[in-house]
């Protein structure tokens, strides 16, 4: 195994060196890095800038020699050189842009993994149903969407028009409510199994619920000042408890149900005192601290009431606690939404289409959180469309493959409940190949998203690359290449190793 890892790393470094040599030579042939100086009117000033850039990029040295100079400085002094136009070190540029890119792409990746796996597994369980065909069609459409086109549309509809609509009172038209109700009816009916009557009934129920919720949201102008409130939180917590217990232990497991229920009750009871905690100055680490406390309490509850299977009850209660915590934090963010929108620099146009955050904003932790959210939401949607489709397809085919295995039939034959078969025997094995794909994807995270960052004007790795390329600056392009390439080599290796560790059938290094 160690030999395998070493061999892969050596091969990776070798590939990187060859590719960087080719890339450097290509960059020196891509255009004239002095072209931007033509805009400077004063001849002496222009000459000074030309000299400076010539010096920075060593334009007086032949390209091959220049490459080896660059490589030597990079390897021995960790020096990426200077940005040709601003004469600032590329490394400080990297330090600024990597966190921005991580912020953008991490959110999109995490969400698309969760949503993609969820839909993929459900479509696999309902193979050849109306829902399956619907999702398949939608994923195909997502695959076919050009990101830049969607991003521009999102900027206009999701940004400008949505802000106008919020300003005008955030009320839905009747047509919209009817259309959404019909949409929910179609999705609900296609999702339901059984006879046509059952499908119609479930579809109708979905439509009625959707229409009522939308009408209520519209009538109370909920979106202008959202929040769940105590009762909303209690209802959501109940749903969380039932859902988590049903998936993780089955509702027939009384012990797990009690553990989940007690945890949920503690969550509901602590809702009001927690508001006071949230109102005091708080930071992200304190939030994680509270989450740790919640986890400790819930697992203890599960352990005490768990009976013969303490582990399962504790796990179930822990998951319930995490979900409750997330809902509580989201609720608190919602409560600050009106305050955030009313900030003078926001001017009641909360959804932002440019940049990664409003620097001039000076508010509480929650207002800043809302600020980050409102800048993230549109680019995240643009990025997610394709990866959600990809994860849905992957997890669907992976799940189907596992469900056709003999050991699933064996599990059913020996009388296990359908829940145990699906969650414990099928899902866990279906997620194995996904672990590889996720690790693979993470290697791409750092390279950012050139198009999304360009359209939404984020200063991330993607725009570093594209700006460097536009100005024919090898230093910036090569810095981007080295960082992303190193990540790719390491994470691709990790993906293979992780797969070998998780799945004993796979052996590496032969």
């Amino acid at each position: 195994m160690l030999i395998y890892i070493a061999r892969r790393l050596v091969a990776g470094v070798f590939v990187m060196i060859v590719a960087s040599f080719i890339l450097y030579l290509l960059m020196t042939q891509a255009g004239d890095p002095l072209a931007f100086t033509l805009t400077i009117q004063n001849p002496t000033q222009r000459q000074a800038v030309i000299d400076e850039v010539t010096n920075t990029l060593s334009l007086d040295v032949p390209p091959v020699e220049r490459y080896f100079d660059w490589l030597t400085r990079l390897v021995f002094q960790q020096d990426f050189g200077l940005v040709s136009t601003t004469q600032e070190p590329v490394s400080s540029e990297l330090a600024r842009r990597v966190p921005t890119t991580l912020k953008l792409v991490t959110a999109a990746t995490v969400l698309s993994v969760i949503i993609g796996i969820f839909t993929g597994v459900i479509t696999a369980l309902r193979q050849y149903s109306g829902f399956d065909y619907l999702v398949t069609f939608v994923t195909f459409v997502f695959f076919s969407l050009p990101v830049f086109w969607v991003a521009v549309i999102l900027k206009d509809w999701g940004g400008i028009n949505l802000n106008d609509w919020l300003r005008d009172g955030a009320q839905f038209s009747t047509t919209f409510v009817v259309a959404m109700a019909l949409l929910f009816a179609v999705v609900g009916a296609s999702f339901a199994g059984g006879t046509a009557v059952r499908k119609a009934a479930i579809g109708a129920a979905c439509a009625v619920i959707a229409a009522l919720v939308l009408a209520w949201v519209s009538a109370t102008q909920w979106l202008l000042d959202p929040g769940f409130g105590f009762f909303g939180f209690a209802v959501i917590t109940t749903a969380v408890v039932v859902g988590v217990v049903a998936v993780m232990a089955g509702l027939a497991n009384r012990r797990a149900l009690i553990a989940g229920g007690v945890t949920g009750a503690i969550g509901v009871v602590s809702y009001i005192p927690m508001q006071a905690v949230f109102d005091n100055p708080i930071n992200v680490w304190q939030l994680f601290g509270w989450l740790a406390i919640a986890l400790a309490v819930s697992t203890a509850v599960g352990y005490i009431v768990g009976g013969y299977d303490k582990g399962q009850a504790a796990r179930t209660a822990g998951v319930v606690a995490v979900f409750c915590g997330i809902v509580m934090v989201v609720d608190r963010m919602m409560q600050s939404w009106a305050e955030y929108s009313a900030e003078p620099v926001i001017r009641n146009r909360p959804i932002k289409t440019i940049g990664d955050g409003e620097d001039r904003l000076d508010g509480s932790f929650w207002v800043i959180a809302d600020n980050t959210f409102s800048h993230l939401v549109l680019p995240t949607i643009a990025l997610m469309l394709i990866s959600v489709a990809a994860y849905t397809r992957f997890s669907r085919s992976s799940m189907l493959e596992v469900l056709n295995q003999d050991y699933i039939r064996t599990a059913r034959a020996k009388g296990l409940t359908e829940r145990t078969v699906l969650v414990r025997h099928a899902l866990r094995n279906a997620l194995l190949p996904l672990a590889t794909i996720v690790a693979f994807d993470i290697s791409g995270i750092i390279s950012g998203a050139v198009i999304t960052e360009t359209v939404f004007q984020w200063e991330g790795m993607g725009t570093l690359f594209i700006d460097g390329l536009r100005e024919f600056d090898p230093n910036r392009v090569m810095a981007f290449f080295v960082v992303t390439g190193a990540f790719a080599v390491v994470f691709n290796l990790l993906a293979d190793v992780a797969y070998a560790v998780l799945d004993p059938r796979i052996r590496v290094g032969e």
């Binding site: 091969a11 255009g31 695959f143 076919s144 050139v450």
Partner: protein, 384 residues
């Protein structure tokens, strides 16, 4: 013995080995009683047909793929004949270079709502997709030209990357050892070099303009995925008995690669080429959008979208139409690829519908005297 006799003997040998080659052979003699219901239905449908016929049948039965094929053909015909392409004369009154006179109403004149529904009647009008008054362009002509460019790019890309990818994958998978190592490291190098740099350099350093540098650059640098797939297939197939048989009979490497192994990988190649062309169209459009693709005066769908992205709020038709064509073409290719994958997949089984079974079209239940209901419960996924 004359050379040609040996060749023809080899030819017949191929046929036999292909048939013994389990998973691609649909007509294995199997005892009917040992079959599960759905297998028997599948087999009774394909008995006596060649591999090509089976694939073609399955493909034609895929409704989504057929519809996509029709729509794609329609788009190609529309783009070719409307503004003309090379020797083909166009019937549309403007071309993408024509200066269109100012029109007071610059919106799309196409109407699909007949007069008796209160619309303007079904007509194309002077500018079905609207008109850009600032530059004096007819959007229909411009979009059609963009479609032509994009189609050219993906055809060139498809041919180039399939050729390179199959060659690299086949050599690497068949010969293994240092050939494999060298070719795969070269593939890795190609994978990590960003496409944007390639097209930027192709445009500037080579002093070329127009669509060819982009098309060729995309083709020469997008074969990596295909090469890996083909290599994997070759790795698996070269261990099979029919390859050993060919080798024992003194077939040359070239013959084994082209006559014995390559035909078995056609499914993978065709499917991934189709999907690759779809992805290639999106890449080309993205490059055009970022300004590193097709350069003016040539237009592609991506450059049109880029040019009019600012107009979306006020004159959305300038921006939306080229996008619709991108989505349309790529979606068609996706569905065709899906249909092809199903058609080539030897494990693919047609799920007989409940109606089929109830109607008694089920040859097995008729043969064995099973009630139709019993057959339903054997259909995977059908009764759960």
């Amino acid at each position: 013995m004359p050379c040609w006799i040996r060749e023809s003997e080899w030819g017949s040998e191929d046929v036999v080995t292909e048939q013994q080659d389990g998973e691609h052979s649909p007509v294995e003699p199997v005892e009917p009683a040992a079959l599960e219901g759905e297998n028997a239905i599948e087999l009774s449908e394909v008995a006596g047909l060649s591999q090509g016929q089976i694939v073609r049948r399955r493909f034609f039965r895929h409704r989504g793929a057929m519809l996509a094929l029709a729509v794609l053909a329609l788009i190609i015909v529309l783009a070719t004949t409307s503004v003309g392409w090379g020797p083909i004369p166009g019937w549309w009154k403007w071309s993408h270079t024509d200066l269109v006179p100012q029109t007071p109403d610059d919106g799309p004149t196409m109407s699909l709502r007949p007069t008796w529904l209160g619309g303007a009647g079904i007509r194309l009008g002077d500018h079905p997709f609207g008109v850009d008054n600032e530059l004096g362009k007819d959007m229909f002509a411009l979009t059609m030209r963009g479609v032509q460019t994009s189609l050219t790019v993906i055809i060139v890309l498809g041919v180039l990357s399939t050729t390179i990818g199959v060659t690299v994958g086949a050599l690497s998978g068949y010969y293994g050892k240092w050939v494999d190592a060298a070719l795969m490291r070269a593939t890795d190098v190609v994978i990590v070099i960003p496409l944007l740099v390639i097209t930027a350099v192709a445009g500037f350093a080579l002093g070329l303009s127009g669509i060819w540098p982009v098309a060729v650059a995309l083709g020469v640098f997008t074969w990596t995925g295909l090469a890996r797939l083909v290599r994997a297939e070759f790795l698996a197939l070269r261990e099979r008995e029919f390859v050993d048989a060919a080798r024992v009979a003194n077939a040359s490497d070239r013959r084994i690669i082209f006559k014995h192994i390559l035909p078995n990988t056609v499914g993978t190649i065709v499917v991934s080429t189709t999907l690759l062309m779809g992805a290639g169209l999106l890449t080309e459009a993205a490059l055009g959008f970022l300004g590193f693709g097709v350069r003016p005066p040539e237009v592609s769908l991506g450059t049109i979208v880029n040019q009019y992205q600012g107009a979306f709020g006020t004159r959305p038709w300038l921006f939306l139409w080229p996008g619709f064509f991108i989505v349309g073409i790529v979606l068609c290719l996706q569905f065709i690829g899906d249909g092809l994958r199903d058609a080539f997949d030897p494990r693919q089984k047609r799920i007989p519908s409940r109606k089929d079974l109830e109607r008694g079209n089920d040859p097995i239940s008729e043969q064995e005297g099973l009630p139709a209901e019993a057959a339903i419960h054997r259909v995977p996924g059908g009764s759960e």
